[in-house]
Subunit: 255 residues, 7 copies
């Protein structure tokens, strides 16, 4: 084969290192995530806020049935960015994992343990022949005996715990804003407003109650609640005017 | 290998990401769908209408025996566009899935669950070596305890729920018309007329009772009914004159 | 590898789509069929006529033992065009399939069901690595509770039911004639004459009782009968003079 | 890879069709047969004559032990041309097949059935990855309830029944002579003389009792008899003077 | 494929030697380690000190939850440099190995035996097709009946025991300093100070209690203790001024 | 890949035919044999003589322990030329085969049957993917109810029976001499002298009792006897002066 | 792929012969051995001496724990040169083999049998796809009922028995000296001195008790003894001045 300058051929076989020690296929899978829709996860005083951009290709799509925040268990949820069918496979495995853990040990799986099992499956897909990496990042959020926790697992299988985080195409702007405005002591309502404000900057079309999705998990009781379109609408109305032009900048930033 | 400019070699191995995070093989499979015959699925007040273009290569084909809308179960059906032999494999699996569900849980499988199992099989064919993606999109339509529902599963395994949708070569014109004329409160008869009108725009030859196929599923009772050639004929007669020239465009598209 | 302009490399690996959504290997297998000897299947008032060109490489071949129309069951037969050894494998599987069905359900397999099982095996050979498509088309003809039926399965696994059909190198001329002269109400004898007339146009050498093969299946009783050389001879004698030059045209037509 | 003009790369992978529908590997295996030593099979009034050129690389080879006509069963034998080690594998399988049939059904396997099982094994080697075709053609000759029969199986797995046939490098000249001089009513002795005369034309060195091998199978009783060197010698002496120069012509002919 | 001057194609398939006897893939995996964060392991009079640079991508990451020194067992720990997801896989296997050994033999696994099992897994990944080498080096440190021991396992599977060692991007400077200043008779406190001083030279940002991690294992009792941020802070305060410029040199050194 | 003129790429994959019907890998394996050390097998009135050149790379090798003629059974032996480790594998299999035969049938395996089983294993290595041919030829010699027999199996799996034969780098000269001087009625002693004289012509260094190996198998009783260094020495002394200069040629050949 | 002049592509696939009958991958693995550290094995009147250069990359390595001479059994040991992780795998297998033999037959495995099992494993890695050859040579030394024996197994799987031998980068000089100075009647002490003298010539740095390793096995009783650093030190002190410059020569010699 004759290839262009990039990768020099090392990037076609997933089980191959390049001379500088890189696994190109894993980086390319990360590109699929960078092109994905934006998803946010933020911790606050009372729990966790997850918010995603679920802009639809047509107004004929049944938006109610279309969810991009998946409930894993009573106390855990995940938001994805990247290849949606890949996300579904991972979410299914995570749900089974959570069920199996509950049946085997008679206690809920911890957020960390669930995240790790997702990461392990992803890593395996970067090391064995005949498989491609998963082209999706997942925000795994939940409440367990350690309190509220938010993790991000990358296509490589690596994961980190975050106070506030974003994945997808809007990540650079979102992280920029979070680093300046995030405060862990904010209330759930304040944090929802912060999240929607951040999410709005990364959206191509106007934010409405049908093209975003918001889920909160309360630390107290660990309850998963998907906000109704009406609730989302009322929060959108409270948002300040969007007169900032920051959204245009920061696009060269790399993950 | 020396390739042309397209894909740069990343598009030959299905388990490989390109530098921009694309899975070319999945996109190419989607092209097979874009060249397929047009199929429509539309929800209405009383149920669902499925209509497909089944133009035949010769008048010597037994058109009665040739179906492009497959019944999955009493309350579900699917219409396909793309590689017909691939569609058959998926339809067979779907029928088995529906049967197994009924025997195991003593209740009918939900439309969503069936769609998901099709999507999962498709996703698997994009991630494992030694397999190619399915070159077909399916409209999965049915009635269950959630009411009437219409899903489209793509070669990637992704799926969305729709109010009214189209797949195949006539999709762009069809969606254009649906977005302008679709109303969920129309009756079954009105919706059949809308569907035939839309389908007619995407057909190369004159619409007759033998080169289209129409199936309706009623919300009440969830009954699957394939319209007889006589019923189809009578609806065709009620169509307005086709004086628009939109149908003439896009004729370079191939099945 | 460096390839010529055709296919651009997408045509070497059977499980790979080209950018325009084609599966080249399947198309190339279809080319093997286009180069095969001509075979016809025609329905008539009383049943089905199958006729094939079995021109032999030498007069030293024992033509009696050489059959190109295979009996599957009492009521079913198949004629092939393409790679003969591939056809034999499919015929063997079909026979086993028919036997298994009879033993399991205590009734004869339907023509459609048998055709479908052949089509499924062919489709599988286009989707899984380590296999090549079958380079053969089969006319599957038979009589069951639905009456007389004729199907053609292609290398892709797709199949259609026909009133009258042809496969192999003589297909373009044959279909042309059938479309003009076929009438479903003709008697068995008239249909045999039509078939031989059509077949004669596609043959390189003069038609004799030893270089063609004719099988009829009667709707009444579903009996398979291979015509004796004497019977074939008498039909050939009844054919009109072959003064038409149509055979030379139509060769650019594609399937 | 960069290849010469031939095959354009389609000829390296056995499970791949070329754009014109050819399977090059199968054709190339047939070339191995065309380079093989000549072998003949001829039917006559009383049975079958098999004759092969077994010219040896040195006079130090024990010619008595070196056989190129293999006995399969009491009533069947096979002569090969092409890769000798491939032939042995097929002959072994044929012997086992014949044994198994006898034990299972308490009757001898028919010549046709045995030929078919060899053809099926050969076909399988042209369709599945990780295998190469058998580079050998076999003349399968025998006597069963259908009388004396001679088949030739090719590397593709295809087979035909013959009155008189030849394989190997001398095939073009041999077939030419057979087509002119073969008569089914000749006696065994006349047919042996015809066969040796034909075989002599294709040999590089002078024909002697140690560089050819002759086997006859009598229809009456189906007895396999390998001629002794003395018997062969006496037939050679009866041959006419070899003054014809035909052997030089006809070499461009293809199988 | 056309490659640049490096490796000349030998570096694409992991199971292939180059003409000079190298396994390039293993070297490239070692490159992944050289780009990793720095990790140190040092023996002292009273036990072992492990220290790592765990600089985080953002201040929103929950640094407490992010560990790069993993506890294997009561008496053993490991620090990694390279692909973090690969490290996790190896650590998991090591933990299982330690558990299994305890259950089977009712005694703790020795540090050497555990190291060897990690090395064997790594070696296997360099010799079998369909796997890539692990892109990570591990410092395995622990106390058993042989006393305190520190091993380093490389991507090749090779391992060595060290008095003081470093892996990752800061290895050249660190080894340089260790070779000059290491003394086995230093106390635990002195050794922590030496380690932090060495680690500081290899860090891009200022060393704080949240971007490094320190673990000590005492020979007496073999206790694993992770230093609290406060303890780390107090050690950092005791470090001398960092006015040396050596950190800039020695970068050409190879492992 | 871009290759030189030879083979045009057909010689890289063992299961692939070249356009002229060759299996290059098998030919190349035969080259490994042509570079091997010379081995001879000669039949005489009283039995068989095997003689091999076992020149050693250094006088520090324990020549007594180094055998190149392997005993298979009481009455059979084999001498090899080519890749020595390949020979060992085949010899091991042959020994097991002989043992199994004795246990199963309570009689010794015939020389022909043993040779055939070696040939079959070799053939299999030329037809299945993922294997390379054996790079070794074996002289299989033994005495059974058919008397003394000598076979040569080639890398292709083909084998022939010989009166006198040679393999390895000295084969051309040896066969030349054998063809001129071999007489089957010679005594064992005369035949040993002939063999040593032939072997000497193909050796680079002077023939001594430690750089050749001689085995005889007597027809009467089928006894395997390895000549002692003293016996070899006494035969060497009886050899005529080696005043021919043929031995000097062919020195570029490598083992 | 486009390759440089060397090997012409035949050196990339281990199961492929080059046109001259070479297996390049095996030769390249042998290169890995030629770059390895030097190891010696010498027989003497009283037993066997093994000596290896174990120069370490840093003085921080725990040299006591680092062994390059592995004990297999009470009476056997092995020294390696080449890829150390490969050696470990082979040593482990050898130990298991020795254990299994003892348990099965209630006697110790012979040195030859153990060597053969290592050679067989190595050969298998040169013939089957998906594996690479072992890049290591092993000196296998031991005492059994046949007395003291020293074997060398190469990456190809071939092995020879030696009186005195060397592997690794210092082999040419070492063999040169051994051929001149080796005497089988020397005592153990004299042989240790000879070995150290030989080893010293091939070392880059000064020989000390911590950068070499010496093991002796006594014929009487077959005892394995690893010399203590003090014992090694005392032998080094007895060595003559190293004023020869021969070590610089002979480097072009090939194995």
């Amino acid at each position: 084969m004759v290839f262009g300058p990039r990768g020099g051929g090392y990037d076609h076989a997933i089980t191959v290192f390049s001379p500088d020690g890189s696994l190109y296929q894993v980086s390319y899978a990360a590109e699929a995530v960078k092109k994905g829709s934006t998803a946010l996860g933020v911790k606050c005083k009372d729990g966790i806020v997850l918010a995603v951009d679920k802009s639809l290709p047509s107004n004929l799509v049944e938006s109610e049935s279309f969810e991009k925040i998946f409930q894993i268990d009573d106390h855990m949820a995940t938001a994805s960015s990247g290849i949606i069918a890949d996300a579904r496979v991972l979410v299914d495995r995570a749900r089974v994992q959570a069920q199996v853990h509950k049946l085997t040990y008679d206690e809920e799986i911890s957020v960390m343990a669930l995240t790790k099992s997702i990461g392990d499956l992803k890593q395996m897909h970067t090391q064995y022949g005949g498989l491609r990496p998963f082209g999706v990042s997942l925000i795994v959020a939940g409440v367990d005996s350690e309190g509220a926790q938010i993790f991000v697992t990358e296509p490589s299988g690596a994961f980190l715990e975050w106070k506030a985080t974003a994945i997808g195409s809007g990540k650079p702007q979102a992280m920029d804003l979070f680093e300046r405005e995030y405060e862990p002591t904010k209330s759930m309502e304040e944090t929802i407003l912060l999240s929607l404000n951040v999410l709005r900057k990364s959206m191509d079309s106007e934010m409405t109650s049908s093209n975003i999705e918001v889920v909160v998990i309360t630390t107290e009781g660990g309850q998963f609640n998907r906000l109704t379109p009406e609730e989302v609408e009322s929060f959108i109305k409270q948002l300040p005017e969007d007169d900032e032009e920051e959204g245009e900048e920061g696009e060269e930033e790399e993950e």
